[in-house]
Structures are given as structure tokens and as C-alpha cells.
């Protein structure tokens, strides 16, 4: 069957989709978006976490046909890199211009704040769980009106398994990202208040 789905803001079409196929398979194997990872295929590990109509889900548990006409955002969409890869053939991670990012360490240009914080906090080891954690942490921070407490972060990430890090640095990364998002929101609020800081 054919599945029409909007992914990272772009309308996409997948053909010859098997009726029992998952959204995860469609994203990875038919639309060239391998960011969401395929591991447990039973919703236990969270490595395939994506947004479906603004809510985080395990893409392995969404039947492809259920995504028809809906809006999906993958980890590629957070960094603005998703649209480049539409049409099937995966883009082989083009390196950023070295003149733009010539400091030692990974290039951080274009990354979402959550991704940046994962890099800065050293929250990535093998990296397999990272895309799912990034999307889930992104949702936690986007939906919070204040910096979440540790218990809330742990609860939000309870369905994302990491077998390398012991989670401490992942928590550091999420705390950092949440604090920055909160600080930015506070600044923006101050600007929008009459008599607040001019810009």
C-alpha cells in the first residue's frame, strides 16, 4: 500500500508498504531517515522515539498505515537535517564547512539545544540510544513550564534504555538543556513586558 505522511515538515510518500510494517521501518528503510533506531521492536527501549502529531511515541509500535496523513518529526527534524534526505537515498552525513566550525570536537552547528547539551555533557557513548533520548528529552523540556526536577526527568526518560552510560551524564545533559531553555524563555518574557529590556 501507499502511505502519505508529513515528515520533518516535508510531505513524503512511501510505496509498496507491507500492511503489517511499522512506521519505524518506513522511516528508516523507505524514506532514508535512519535517525530513529531499530532495537527491541516491542516498545521497551525507546530508541525509535519520534513525534507523531506532536506526541512522542515508539515508531516501532505505530503501524505504517496509522501514520497516513499525519505529522512525524524525527531526530533529523530537530536539527533541521531531515528534509535533505527525502526520496530514499540516504545522504552520507555531509561534513560542515571546516572554516565555519574549526574548533576541536564535534561540529555543533545546526544542532538542537538538547543535542548540543548531550555533546557538551558527554552524554553520548555508543550513541545508539541517543536519538530516542534526545527526542524524548526535547518533548519533556518543550512541555514544561519550569525546569523539571530530577524525578520528573527520570520518569520522562524511563522508557529509554542506555546500556553504556549509567544515565548520570544523560541527566546532566537534560538538566543543562532544561536550564538553558528556561533561561531563554525568561529572557524572552522580559523582552515582551512593556518597559522591559530593549532589543
Amino acid at each position: 500500500m501507499r502511505v502519505n505522511v508529513r515528515v520533518n515538515g516535508e510531505p513524503m510518500v512511501a510505496d509498496d508498504v507491507w500492511e503489517g510494517e511499522s512506521l519505524l521501518y518506513v522511516l528508516r528503510e523507505r524514506l532514508g531517515l535512519p535517525g530513529a533506531k531499530n532495537a527491541c521492536e516491542q516498545g521497551e527501549c525507546g530508541s525509535c522515539t519520534v513525534y507523531l502529531d506532536g506526541i512522542t511515541v515508539c515508531a516501532c509500535l505505530v503501524a505504517a498505515g496509522q501514520a497516513e496523513g499525519r505529522e512525524v518529526v524525527t531526530v533529523e527534524g530537530l536539527s533541521g537535517g531531515g528534509a535533505r534526505r527525502r526520496g530514499g537515498a540516504p545522504d552520507r552525513n555531509p561534513r560542515p564547512d571546516p572554516d565555519v566550525d574549526d574548533v576541536a570536537g564535534p561540529p555543533l552547528d545546526g544542532l538542537d539545544e538538547v543535542q548540543r547539551c548531550f555533546v557538551e555533557a558527554g552524554a553520548v557513548q555508543c550513541g545508539f540510544c541517543t536519538p530516542g533520548l534526545v527526542v524524548q528529552a526535547h518533548a519533556l523540556i518543550a512541555g514544561a513550564s519550569r525546569v523539571p526536577e530530577d524525578a520528573e526527568i527520570r520518569e520522562a526518560l524511563a522508557g529509554n534504555l542506555c546500556r553504556c552510560t549509567g544515565y548520570e551524564k544523560i541527566l546532566d545533559a537534560v538538566r543543562l538543556a532544561a536550564a538553558r531553555a528556561h533561561a531563554r524563555a525568561a529572557t524572552e518574557n522580559a523582552r515582551s513586558v512593556p518597559g522591559g529590556a530593549d532589543d
Binding site: 500492511e19 521492536e41 516498545g43 515508539c58 505505530v62 503501524a63 498505515g65
Partner: protein, 305 residues
Amino acid sequence: MDFLRPATWEDALAMKAARPDATPIQGGTDVMVEINLDKGRPTALLDLNPVAELARWSWTAGPAPMLRVGAGVTYTRLISELGTWLPGLAQASRTVGSPQIRNRGTLAGNLGAASPAGDGHPPLLASGALVEAESVRGTRLIPIIEFYTGVKRNALEGDELIRAVHVPPAAGPQCFAKVGTRNAMVIAVCSFAVALDVRARRAGTGIGSAAPTPRRAHAAEEFLAGELDWDGAGPLDPALAHRFGELVAEAAAPIDDVRGRADYRRHALAVMARRSLGWAWAERGSVPGTSDASGTYHQKSGENG
């Protein structure tokens, strides 16, 4: 495999009548696991996501209004929108899977799968819920106690779909407890729910994952109705709580399996029942339904969030 996409509830009923072999899929958190791991391959999937009305909840009419929870209401929404009236169910819902699973999974899916370990079953049993099942032949309300007919078997006919679950609002404190290896992503080793109706001097119970089907502990309920000092202001009598736990354990018929031994399950049930009763007793008076303000809760209805 066929993929059926009804646009309306009427379409869904017609499709299910024409294809009784079709497996309804809502959140997919059970159905897709079966397919992904090749444990079973449905001949057809009937996708209920497009039927928008299923994602709504409302109050039923009549002198004793119940919450009519549409088959598409997710656990996440059940917790955030209905927790005030259905505290036991909300508590159980919070133990389901992970945030991602609760964002997709539904109570109706729990009922459709009818696993004895489903977290939604004990609180539904404890509060005396009704399952609204419908086919092209008509609608029937199945009392929850009659709904579970065997391991992963329920009372639905081949052409029937679950449209909603009717749950009475709490008439007193409710508690849910569950044993598992960690807090998240845990299928219950065993679970227990209690619901007290202080005014009516009645207790409801539900046992999960300790018999071929979820079940009530009738003798334990009768014991509480007769022996609990319903007007008492003091703490719960420890001997009474202990006896209640024993009666709950006696009502179970657990097996040895990979998650736990039968004798462990019986022991854990007795402990959970005793503690849940204690927690519920300590909470009485602070739950809607036990105060005179309960009527004011019967106003709002939910739309698809």
C-alpha cells in the same frame, strides 16, 4: 494482510461485521509487538485511529452518572484529564509501560487483549465498570466481571468492537499496587486494586496477574463490608488488614512462570492488599465522592486533546 481504515464508527462496525477476523488496532502497543516479533500475523488490521469520536470522554446521563471513556483515550490523557474522578485507574495507568507507551496505549486495548497481567483490569473490577461493546446488530453493556472469559480471551463476539468503557466516579479512596522488577516498563508479576465506597460501606477489589483472568476477591470484599469500622476515625485495625490480605491471596489462583512463583504471588498479593487498604483508609475524606461537593464534578466533558 489487509489494512482497513474506517473513517467513521459506522464504517468500523460494517468492516468488522464483514471481516470478523480483522484485528482492531488503536495504540498498537500490543498488536504491533505480536507482528514485529512474528508471534502472530493478523489477516487484517482495522485501524481505529481515524475514528475521532473514540478519543473523547463524557458523562453518562441518569441518576448515577458514569464516566464514558472512549476506546481511543490514551493512558496519558486518562491520567491528566480523568484522575480526579478515577484515582485508582489513574494510579494503575501511571504504571503502564513508559511515557511513549502511555501516549499511545488505551484502556480499551487492555480489554481487547485481555491479558491477565493488564494494569487496567484490577481498578475496573474494583469500581464495577461496564464495557460498551457494539456491532451492526446493536449495543450491549457488559459488566466487567463477565468480560474476562479466559487467558487473553474476552466476551466480545467476532463482529463486536469496544466503543467505550463506563466507569463510576470514585465514591471514596482507591488504591492500586503492582509488583515488578522496576518502576517503568514492567509487566505485573501481580497487582491489586481496592476501591472503598465509604457511604455505602462497600469495598471493591481487583486482582491482576494471579489467575487465568483478572478477578475480584469476593470473600475479602464481604469481609470488609461486614467488619470494617466504616464510621471509625482512627487508624485501620492491623488484624483486620491482615485478614483482608489473607482473603485476597486466597481468591487468587496463580501459576509459576518466568516472572514469579505461585507462592510468591500469593504472598505478595496479601502484602499489597493489606498495604493498599491502609493507604486507602488513610486517604478517606480527601477524595471526591466522599465530600458533598461530588455533584459539582459532573459538568465537564472531554474532547480529543
